[in-house]
């Protein structure tokens, strides 16, 4: 059996080690930054939402919205029967469809999905 050794000068070794360390450090910092940035980006927007809720909007409950009261007004409202009444069910409620057949078909040809 022949033993193989990699010949490397002292200078080349230092150069390679330095480069490897540099890449590892830079890579670590960049991925860490990217991760933190993505998190607080959404967080900043979320914070702004709660701030607007507390400071910009006059009323903070849906049932207090004057235009919602007008919509459901018992005498003249478009939805006079109140929420979940007959017209509500026609216009504002829906039904759902079982779409699992498409997923099953994919699995049957060997495509792997996460769920």
């Amino acid at each position: 059996m022949q033993k193989t050794t990699v010949q490397m000068t002292r200078r080349a070794f230092i150069r390679a080690a330095g480069l490897a360390a540099g890449y590892a450090l830079v890579g670590f910092h960049l991925t860490k930054d990217a991760f933190a940035a993505a998190l607080d980006f959404a967080g900043l927007r979320q914070k702004a939402v709660y701030q607007a809720d507390a400071e910009i909007y006059k009323s903070r409950k849906s049932q207090d919205n004057p235009m919602v009261k007008k919509l459901y007004d018992k005498n003249h409202g478009f939805l006079a029967k109140g929420p979940c009444g007959h017209i509500s069910h026609e216009l504002l409620h829906t039904h759902y469809q079982d779409r699992s057949a498409g997923v099953k078909a994919l699995r049957s040809v060997g495509i792997k999905l996460k769920i």
Binding site: V49, R60, S62, N65, Y96
Partner: protein, 417 residues
Amino acid sequence: MREIEKVMYQEKPPAAADPDTLLFVEVDPEKCQGCGECDNHCPTGAVQARDATGIRHVVSPAACINCGQCLVNCPHGAVYETVSYVDEITARLKDPATVAVSMPAPAVRYALGECFGYPTGAYVGGKMHAALKQLGFRFVWDNEYAADVTIMEEGTELLQRISKPDRHKPLPQFTSCCPGWVKFVESYYPDLLPHLSTCKSPIGMLGALAKTYGAQETKTPRDKMYTVSIMPCIAKKFEGLRPEMAASGCRDIDATITTRELAFMIKQAGIDFKSLPDMAPDPILGMSTGAATIFATSGGVMEAALRLAYEVLSKQKLASPDIKVVRTHEGINTADIKVPRFGTVKVAVASGLANAAKLCDEVRGGKSPYHFIEIMTCPGGCVNGGGQPMDPRIRQASLFKRTMASVKKRYNMRTTG
């Protein structure tokens, strides 16, 4: 293809009427480096390598729920949108016979400003309404109004499910405003569909109300109306095309665009956004409350619904509307809300569908203790949706990742010949 706010778009309305046959996002094989970052963000596993090169594609419309998290997280800008109504809307806005109606979602106003140099999250609701008016929308209606209506409907539905147990309408009740989540249940947990609130999403409601109630109040023939849904979301394009969204007697939602596309249209029209005055929407289907605006964030629908449920169940006023325990940044959040004269309302909020799947498995196993569960597909909620302006750091900060990915791609190309 054209670039809109750093994202590529095919410039065409949907190629078919049936949204089940359409892909709403796709990967450009020229730009894809095979790094797999999209896989990390795809909740269903719909983005996969097409072959040994590692270059990704969306395997099938049946697997994809159209959330667009792959798109906003791709470090290489390789994922693009395939459906755009921008040109159609621009033409209809110029047509004197058309009565254009705008319907912007809550989350749009917390991100639109970023396209005009405002800091992340800056609230630009007033300027957004002014810009819509300038673009030529006759009625500036607002999906926040419909979010308030949704709370009335969905809150009442929840109270009915609690007071009258019915095996066709079981507890827990799941929220139904997130179109990614709804397609997810329909595709991956169809047995749980009875748990899904029968309420349409706010935009589903507003489309139908605009062409009935709105047409009546403004004396506008509904067939002249052109309703434009403006969303932080790509999956809303699928929702707008659902065949059942025709309760008004015609299509309830004529076109759907994202926050990015609205910014593009404002720039294209030469509107100086920053100098616009703050404007209120047209009140009749536009006035809204804080409960509506928090629909934009994970935990918001839950908090808004509790602000109603508390008052109905306890028959007393809720002194402070802040219900901070349900506010969710990531993961699963659960809470017991004590309500006088009722007891405890048990709720859960999940941000991201991997978390939603855990709650679904509990419900499937009959072990879910909750009355009401809110699910948002995008981590943090709609403010972080797939149709929102890009986080500029996703592509900047990934220089290292980009370099590594291109090295890997070249290597793979060579080894697979």
